[in-house]
Structure formats: structure tokens, C-alpha cells
């Protein structure tokens, strides 16, 4: 009798353990912030505040959690994918081929040793900077000492067809190769390393975000955000409320996706997903 009881208890415990199996976390839609009179293209966090580039209206706006505008920088010339570091906002001005810096209420400019043709994005990381030079189909990269340039128009590895966003990480440079509909990855000498997303039938891969474990890319015309692991394997596809998305940002552990056309910020949160297994 004692043995039978033990067997029954063991079976129950075994079953219970199996039922609690958890699969990797997923991004789940949380809520929408509706902006008024803003068509966001890029976004960045400065001291816990969210800034958006509003290219249509030649300005940057800083909003609160409800989407209400609290501050703005105007008289810009088509600001695109912005970035921020140590309280400084970096603003690529597509219309004037300049990179502006905004800090302590003053606007200055990043000194460049080469001319740009429609800078679509900037990334700043420690002493490094990278610029997506849209019409020149290249990336300009500053390693803290020197500027280098890599890429040319084309479809082969290491070539671009209108790059619209760039991000520097610890040892790599990631490029949203917009109209080649893919992501390309380079080392810090500009050597091609890796390509991803090319089989996902994207149509205008406009905005990129790379975290420790994931790569996010906005698929502008297909109204979705694709999420890959760092090896390029597709993990998840987000589409709820996404319409002409141009960029993404993680702030307070929440994923913010901006919709250019309807001025929405859609927020997704990471949640555990429990599945029943036999």
C-alpha cells in the first residue's frame, strides 16, 4: 500500500513539473500612445525622457507617458533616426547634410571630414559614431580616432541600397539596408560579417535596434517588426497596431514601436509564455 502511494505521488509530481514548462519569453502588445500632429521617424531616450524626430515638421519633440509634448527643438531640416549618449541628442539632418548635437539647450554640429548626401541615421557608442549616408550608399564610422567609410551601391555582400539606420554595438556595426530588404553586420574595420532577414520578404527595412540577445527591424511597407536572435534566426514577428513603422527603442524594459503615418507609439512588454506539454 505504501509503495502504491509513493508511485501515485511521484506520477503527480512528475506531471506537475512537465505542465509548468516555460518556453522563451515573447513580446506581447501592451498599449498605444496616440500622438497629435507628430509623424515620428526616430526616437531616443535622454535622462528618462522620450524624444522623437518629427521630420515632416522639421523638429524634435519630447513627450510624456501620455504622449503630451513637453519640449521641442524646431528649425531643423528633416531630422531622421536620432540617437543619444550621456544626455546629448545627436540629430542627422537629411535635408542639410549635417549632424546636429543638442545639449543644455544649445544646438551645435558634429565636425565631419567628408560630405554627406542625406544622412538618415546616426549611432553613438562610447567614443564611436556611425552615420547611414543614404544617397551615397555607405556608412561613415568614427572609431574614436579616425573616420572610415565602407559600402557602395549594390546588392552583394557589403553593398547597400539606401541604408536608413545603423547601430554600433561592442564589437559590431549593424545596418538597416533598407531597399535591399535586409540587415548587414560589419566589424569595426568595415569588413562584412553577416547578413540576416533577406529571406523574410521585407519591403523597406527602415529601423534597427540591437540588444544583448535580439535584433529588431521595422518592415515599413509590410507593417511589421521582425525580431531575430543574434545569429539571424527569426524569433518573433510583431504586427498588432503596427502601421508604417520606422523605428523601435527599448525604454524601461518596454519595446516602443513608432508608426510614422498615424503617429502612434505601440508598446510591447516581455512576458513568459507557458505551454502545456505531455
Amino acid at each position: 500500500m505504501k509503495n502504491i502511494s509513493l508511485i501515485v505521488v511521484s506520477i503527480i509530481l512528475f506531471s506537475a513539473c512537465k505542465q509548468k514548462e516555460i518556453v522563451p519569453k515573447e513580446w506581447i502588445f501592451s498599449n498605444t500612445i496616440q500622438l497629435v500632429g507628430v509623424n515620428p521617424i526616430g526616437l531616443a531616450e535622454v535622462n528618462g525622457k522620450l524624444w522623437l524626430s518629427d521630420g515632416d515638421h522639421n523638429r524634435l519633440v519630447q513627450i510624456n507617458a501620455q504622449g503630451k509634448m513637453e519640449a521641442f527643438i524646431d528649425s531643423l531640416d528633416r531630422p531622421m533616426h536620432i540617437d543619444a549618449l550621456d544626455g546629448v541628442l545627436y540629430i542627422p539632418q537629411y535635408g542639410s547634410d549635417t549632424i546636429a548635437k543638442f545639449a543644455n539647450g544649445a544646438l551645435t554640429f558634429v565636425a565631419l571630414k567628408d560630405s554627406l548626401d542625406a544622412p538618415a541615421a546616426i549611432s553613438v557608442f562610447q567614443q564611436e559614431k556611425a552615420i547611414a549616408d543614404f544617397y551615397n550608399n555607405r556608412i561613415l564610422y568614427y572609431n574614436g580616432t579616425d573616420w572610415i567609410s565602407f559600402g557602395k551601391e549594390g546588392k552583394a555582400e557589403g553593398e547597400f541600397y539606401y541604408p536608413t539606420d545603423v547601430q554600433i554595438t561592442k564589437d559590431k556595426i549593424w545596418v538597416a539596408d533598407a531597399y535591399n530588404n535586409r540587415i548587414q553586420v560589419f566589424d569595426k574595420e568595415g569588413k562584412f560579417l553577416q547578413m540576416m532577414g533577406q529571406s523574410q520578404k521585407m519591403n523597406a527595412a527602415t529601423g534597427i535596434l540591437v540588444t544583448e540577445n535580439e535584433v529588431f527591424i521595422t518592415d515599413f511597407e509590410n507593417n511589421r517588426v521582425l525580431i531575430f536572435d543574434l545569429a539571424g534566426n527569426l524569433k518573433q514577428e510583431l504586427s498588432k497596431n503596427i502601421e508604417k513603422a520606422t523605428d523601435v527603442l527599448i525604454m524601461n524594459e518596454k519595446l516602443h514601436v513608432i508608426n510614422y503615418r498615424n503617429g502612434q507609439i505601440n508598446i510591447f512588454e516581455m512576458a513568459e509564455k507557458i505551454v502545456e506539454v505531455n
Binding site: N39, I41, G55, D56, R78, M80, Y94, G95, A118, A120, F134, Y135, Y161, Y162, T164, A178, Y179, K201, N203, A204, T206, F220, E221, K244, T246, Y260, R261
Partner: protein, 208 residues
């Protein structure tokens, strides 16, 4: 009193110069397809800034309406404008110029033929991606004499075309479309023409 007169004179002269400047500007209105993406729209705007002296540039991404004014003495032509739109990677649908002297110029729109007794309607698959593709496909089909109706659905990729069988054939219409860079069920576009399409129009090629 003396100062008031001087200020009034200066304001008057400035107003006169401003009015003259306005009078000496030609106004351009271009309907451009495929400006849904801000990178594209701002790119078009940027390329037109190469025309030194351009003023009052307005661009509506939603409608594709693009307008600006330009000094009349430079006599910018319809062809110059349409070429610059194409240089920026887009397709001009219609272009209108209101000259400073009151003359109006409008680009020649390709018109459809009248429906006749011999008109038939056919459906055929045509590859493409977007609104710009639709405009290009439609323009190519309309260029064939005898075509009286054309529509293309970017989701289904099906083209519905009505034409007079006494004047043309479906094969001729498909050839005209292929020449514009779009594969059809029975005609494949030249690779070079396909490669010249704007980035957002680079559809997945149809298998032969």
C-alpha cells in the same frame, strides 16, 4: 513725421519688390506616385533643392502632391522637372506649370481609347509591389492603341485590361508592360530595365 514717411516708403518698396518677386516666379505642381516613405519624399525634396532659387517647396506624402515655385527667367521646362523626379527615383504622373506670364503648361497624359464593338476584357498576372508599380503598369498599358480600360491590383497582382481585338492583342499589351520593367505571365522584363526600377518597386521576379 520725417521718420514716418521714410518707414512708410521703405515698407512700400519692400512690398513692391516682394510682389514683383512673386510675379516673376513660375509655379510647378507635380503629382508623384510612391511617396509613402519619408525617406523617399524628403529625398525628392532634397534633389529639387539642386535647382538653385527654388522656393515655397511643398510636399504631401499622403497624396503625392509636390509643388514649388522657381524664377521665371530660368525657364524650367516640364521635361526638366520630370527628369529630375525620375533622377530622384520616382515616377511623375502629371506635371503642371503656371508661368509668371499667365501661360499654363500641362504634361501630356496618356489617354485611353474609346470602347468599341470589338472590345474584349482579359485578366493577366503582372508582377509589381506598390502604387508606383501600378502607375507604371497602367501608363505602359495605356500607351498601346486600342486599350480602353486598365486596372491592376497590387495584392492579387492581376491586371484587368479591355482592348479592341481589331487594333491590338494581349501579347502586345504584355510586351509594353514588360518594356516598362514589369514581368507578366507571358513576357519577362529585361534585367537592366528591372534593375533601374525605384527601390520599392523591385518585386520578386516571376518564374519563366
Amino acid at each position: 513725421m520725417k521718420h514716418t514717411i521714410i518707414v512708410t516708403l521703405i515698407i512700400g518698396m519692400m512690398t513692391m519688390f516682394s510682389a514683383n518677386a512673386q510675379q516673376n516666379m513660375d509655379k510647378f505642381m507635380v503629382q508623384v506616385d510612391g511617396l509613402g516613405c519619408p525617406f523617399c519624399a524628403f529625398g525628392l525634396e532634397k534633389k529639387f533643392k539642386e535647382f538653385k532659387g527654388i522656393k515655397t517647396v511643398k510636399i504631401d506624402i499622403e497624396t503625392g502632391d509636390f509643388s514649388f515655385s522657381y524664377p521665371a527667367e530660368k525657364a524650367l521646362s516640364l521635361a526638366d522637372v520630370e527628369k529630375q523626379v525620375e533622377n530622384a527615383g520616382y515616377t511623375p504622373i502629371t506635371t503642371k506649370i503656371e508661368r509668371a506670364n499667365g501661360k499654363v503648361e500641362v504634361s501630356k497624359a496618356t489617354s485611353l481609347s474609346e470602347k468599341t464593338k470589338g472590345t474584349v476584357t482579359k485578366n493577366v498576372m503582372v508582377a509589381g509591389n506598390c502604387g508606383m508599380c501600378e502607375a507604371r503598369i497602367s501608363k505602359a498599358a495605356k500607351s498601346v492603341a486600342g486599350v480602353s480600360e486598365i486596372s491592376w491590383n497590387k495584392d492579387t497582382k492581376m491586371m484587368k485590361v479591355s482592348f479592341d481585338v481589331e487594333i491590338t492583342t494581349l501579347s502586345e499589351i504584355e510586351m509594353a508592360i514588360a518594356k516598362s520593367g514589369h514581368d507578366t505571365k507571358n513576357q519577362k522584363a529585361q534585367t537592366a530595365t528591372y534593375n533601374d526600377l525605384p527601390p520599392c518597386c523591385l518585386y520578386e521576379r516571376m518564374a519563366k
